[in-house]
Symmetry: C2
Subunit: 397 residues, 2 copies
Amino acid sequence: MKIENPNPIEWQFSERASQLQSSFIREILKITQRPDIISFAGGLPSPATFPVEEMKAAFDKVLSNNGKVALQYGPTDGYAPLREWVANSLSTPDCTIAPEQVLMTSGSQQALDLLGKVLIDEGSRVLVETPSYLGALQAFSVYRPEFKSVATDEHGLVPSSIAPVAEGARLLYALPNFQNPTGRSLSVERRVELVETCARLGLPLIEDDPYGSLSYNGEPFPKMLNMNPDGVIYMGSFSKVLTPGIRLGYVVAPLPLVRRLELAKQAADLHTAQLTQMVVHEVIKDGFLERHIPNIRTLYGNQCQVMLDSMAEHFPKAVTWTKPEGGMFIWVTLPKQIDAMQLLDQAIAAKVAFVPGAPFYANEPETNTLRLSFVTVSPERIREGVAILGKLIAAQL
Amino acid sequence: MKIENPNPIEWQFSERASQLQSSFIREILKITQRPDIISFAGGLPSPATFPVEEMKAAFDKVLSNNGKVALQYGPTDGYAPLREWVANSLSTPDCTIAPEQVLMTSGSQQALDLLGKVLIDEGSRVLVETPSYLGALQAFSVYRPEFKSVATDEHGLVPSSIAPVAEGARLLYALPNFQNPTGRSLSVERRVELVETCARLGLPLIEDDPYGSLSYNGEPFPKMLNMNPDGVIYMGSFSKVLTPGIRLGYVVAPLPLVRRLELAKQAADLHTAQLTQMVVHEVIKDGFLERHIPNIRTLYGNQCQVMLDSMAEHFPKAVTWTKPEGGMFIWVTLPKQIDAMQLLDQAIAAKVAFVPGAPFYANEPETNTLRLSFVTVSPERIREGVAILGKLIAAQL
């Protein structure tokens, strides 16, 4: 019952759609998922840490006891007991976070999209670290801001670099703990200075914190949220401490903003799966994460150390790298003349993969940088892969 | 460790954010969820139809056999076997839909958001039915289009009304089967005429089809997608035939568009939960829906008939209403002088609720209309509630 001779459509996309680019990382991942390749390119948590049995038991329990509710439409702001859990987990003796400030999202990537939607007009200035998380750059790009890069050094973001570019800025986006891509953390002194600077400038500060609890020594950094809950927007996620495939994150914000984000979410996908939220609450409500997260820390910490040791052994002296105290990534700076993109071609030919650093820069990329992840690779393969990379780098010097 | 004397932030929201309004329906639902109220206001499917046991068994099976994969990050376009299932279910002898044309979404609400994001610039013309689905108006509004309403009559959308307003339009949004809110369906002749008109004008036609398989007599209408797969964008959902709380829908579009939608989804939430997609595929792959959907049809068809019979008995002669052949809604037109919003206040006082029609209009609302849903109310309570409404209406004449 097809109609005859239809005109082919000449698609006219929105100007916004022209900003859409596939994540370079996801493109690399397609190439590097072959089992013969030693891939340091991934940003995926190790499946060895996924609590499959606990999740299975919780799905069974929630569906058995409360199936009709779990499978019905739910509230846009999220499952109330889980919002309470999040609020409690973020409250400190001198800073109480209210459940009303919590909006559950479909992964923390959705929080980035909603924040962009609600805060960014075309041409709005948006401040980001140098380098910054690629997913945030992607999410914000859709709303066509003017990105301004803020300088970072080995202690993280440099607060004194903010004021000169803050005029009219809508937000500053920061990932202070074990940053993706650099693995760096913001020092405690810098946190205070950053929060004070943003408060003085009236600049909303986004604290994106997917890796905060993955500190190898178990000592968490203080949250900037708790230093100024009226000026800091906090983003959290269950992806790195439980499992990413369920797509569950949250954003915590002052009430005027969180209500706007909730309306934006209602228009975007109504709500995040009620069943998923009930199951996660069932898994974590009695302290599971306190028992589980140390295992992840140990696994990642050991593999990080193996990679650092291998790099010290195999990388030429002219190469430098970060020494993360948590999280999933190491950032490597090559001598200026080496282009990491070209090195990647050689590396893939030698069956090793990584992510070149350039896509993580909002403005001028440093093309002699690259990101390595160690969490899904065995110690033996880490040593093997780093040795190969060392040889390829040495050959270029 | 709070900082001292922070400036309160003066939030500056995007112009887009000023378009955000809470769905009037969701506001009504908050009032009407009290058990003493007979609510015809809902748009929720009946939980009596949720296949809890089948879902539970499928979660158990998927997590047991494939837990590590199900809980890991997944591809943005969706779980390949489910995309294949969708493509097969939409293919006809003379129109093959390819899995590559299918993008899985977090409910079909997300498909509306992604379509708005990729197709609508500020001020772009967007054509909608009169009245239209509120969730679509909300999703598109965020991107600040100029809505133009296209006339409808008892056979649905009037194709000859399109050309006069089609100049520069980016899309026409239609819900041809058992429409929300009117319960009306587009006649087969009209479908052909509509598809031909849009093809002639080079106008992308969105066919939103959440209720298509809920035809009370079991006979589905032909899909406009199959009449012109190069010009029709099809949206489907598992919310009304399986369960809404898992948030799973899909959009089927020509390749140039579906690739843009995929990039927009990557920036919006990376991907829809892999576990959910694997579980739904597990539940439906061997023909479950063919056995399950007839039960939903029978339940809804019977309750629709009870409501239609009660209305014939209790509503004054000056009131008219649609006679749906499927779906979840009846649309009532009161005499012009009655304002449904005022009637709602009286109805709630008398412990009956419905949704006034005005919010479903993109442009001039007809304030003497209202929407009734019968799917979550027992026959006895349907009779009781309709009798009360009939008295309230009669008292105004």
